[in-house]
Symmetry: C2
Subunit: 433 residues, 2 copies
Amino acid sequence: MGLQDKLKNIKSTGIKLAATTGNQRNDALIAVKNALMSEKESIFEANKIDVSDAEKQGLTKSVIKRLGFDEKKLAGVIDGINELISLPDPIGKVLLARSLDEGLDLYRISVPIGVICLIFEARPDALVQIASLCIKSGNCAVLKGGSETKNTNRVLFNIISKAACSVLPEGCLVQIEERNEVNDLLSCSDSIDLIIPRGSNAFVRYIMSNTTIPVMGHADGVCHIYVDSEADIEMALKITLDAKTQYTSVCNAVETILINKNIADTFIPLFARMMTEAGVKLHGNSEFVQKLDEVCGKEITCEHMGDDDYHTEYLDYACSCKLVDDIDEAIDHINRFGSHHTDSIITKNKDKIEHFMEMVDSADCMSNCSTRFSDGFRYGFGAEVGISTGKLHARGPVGLEGLMTYKYKLYGSGQIVGDYSSGIKQFRFKDIK
Amino acid sequence: MGLQDKLKNIKSTGIKLAATTGNQRNDALIAVKNALMSEKESIFEANKIDVSDAEKQGLTKSVIKRLGFDEKKLAGVIDGINELISLPDPIGKVLLARSLDEGLDLYRISVPIGVICLIFEARPDALVQIASLCIKSGNCAVLKGGSETKNTNRVLFNIISKAACSVLPEGCLVQIEERNEVNDLLSCSDSIDLIIPRGSNAFVRYIMSNTTIPVMGHADGVCHIYVDSEADIEMALKITLDAKTQYTSVCNAVETILINKNIADTFIPLFARMMTEAGVKLHGNSEFVQKLDEVCGKEITCEHMGDDDYHTEYLDYACSCKLVDDIDEAIDHINRFGSHHTDSIITKNKDKIEHFMEMVDSADCMSNCSTRFSDGFRYGFGAEVGISTGKLHARGPVGLEGLMTYKYKLYGSGQIVGDYSSGIKQFRFKDIK
């Protein structure tokens, strides 16, 4: 079946799905949960094929670990589904209630976006999470997972889809397996309301540049920490180490440390030794390398980088370092080289914190804590859809509400506009309690 | 100066503009208002040239009326600026305040989107309104007005820009005059955060299909009224007449009337005579024409249309008519042929109203009132940016808040993620009052 056929009725299915009750969607999640548990052996079996294929292809251990789906990962996704079930229904929230005149009442009500296409990395647990989020929020989902887990994905999708559609409208979940279908998807603006791509920078950027369908997500995460002249040095060391090494391959890991010149002599020797001991390779421009040599002798090695290379996202045990004159040079650097994702200032000066938060044009501006905190779970949003560096619709960590839009409902009793434009009647705006 | 040069620094200007106070932006609006009043003669003079050019080119009277800028229109835009000044500052609203743990406080704060490109029809008052909205909301504006008012636009822009920049950062308003620059704009995703196009369907659709920059607006407005079997006939007549004829050239005017077969014999004779008397030309498929002939004899003429032609947006004294079996056929028709803009049901049955509002996939769903109510001013939003038929970011009539986004600010006191992932610390989410 071609993509056009698969998507032919999805818009109208979306409307039916949006009209289901919160209880029905929770029942669907319960059915999914039960099916995953009772059919777990078939999932594990399919996953063994993917893992063995990956080993034959010589993929790295960390990649193979991500591809795996075992009892522990199953328990994780079941926990996630239970959490989703416990969350309030996102559909039908009254976002505004206003009487325009007697017998003319306006409501803004939350509704699902409709049809969401999610393209995600080779992680079987991601498929379960994403499908569950769409079920909870009443959105049709078009799912394309990484091909390295195609056997696991197929089994998981069939289990989830069958269980969900025992309660919800047939066809509300669609799986895409062929890579070439992704290109076809990009032109389906009649069927798809939103694309959420996850994966490599190049891939996400490709999606963003090749479709007129709205895209939510982030290409890269070049995050910064600025260590100010008034920083608590010990705190700055602890935070930079955490932000760089706690989990290097994620978008909210720090990539560039900006160091105020006034504390360079004190901070750099401690920082450079700490990072080197942790296995982090330092990179810096001529000025930084010179200062490093001056304060550490030649004891610490540092890769030389050009002044225009500070866009680099390592996602690894490496970071860029730079000296700056003051907070404004740091802010200018971040706005120029950053990706508007997450940036943190370390300082005891409250005015500088406010100035930094105001002038840094990023989704998440922080003070005196690790950039790694920018995450839907850590922000207390429960389920996380992803992190958006775009400014429209949703920005920063996106929870369930990022999958929602609203509609207006206006209840009249015979009103016409002519009466108001001629002055026979006047609007009398009043909030409805 | 080329477009690239004009936009080179606009992102950083936007950051400076976002950091201005509400008082500064109100002072800028006062300066703009005063300058418009004191330099009004130069505006009127430039406008005379545009109007005389338009007359020479033989443009229609209604177009020429829209191009004109006189004392009355000046008074209108001054009223608008005064209203904007009276509105609360949209920047800096606390949208969420949550403590994640002791000494780790998260805030979601409203901020301007940044740089907004507005492409609008040949109406000099629109330039003033749009520039004022951007000043109030702290957004840089790239403005391209209809070429038929190029002389008026130039004078207006110079007056507004000079006055605004006496208070606000230089370069926060940019004017584009050449039509070919619009095409260049569409690829400026590094400089422009959002495009709001207004104008003909074809033009808006062209913009939407040729840029990866987010676009907010609507191409067409094929709005419906469904006259149910349980409609109050007199109310249905009054509302359909208003929705069709109160102002025909606007997007929220009704284009298609769907009539339940059970009331056709009563409703159609009254409806057809009323519309014909009002100068509205009826269009209908074979079934409708046959019914019309049956109930009105051949007294009323009706243009025959195919069953697939119901996408038509007349924006004129004309409307499509169709018989439907029931509410569900009406809903299916609207979701298939409509433009997800505004649709209204006329019925006394409350269950049908709820069913219609739930199942019609439009920004504005109404009952027992005219589609013409879907408008920012009538909804009580004050200033209106436009109407969006997209589902992302803003939907339906868009007020000032459609020009805003948010950023997260996280204030820490030394926290690292490692402590939470190792279990040394736990998140303790608490709303901050």
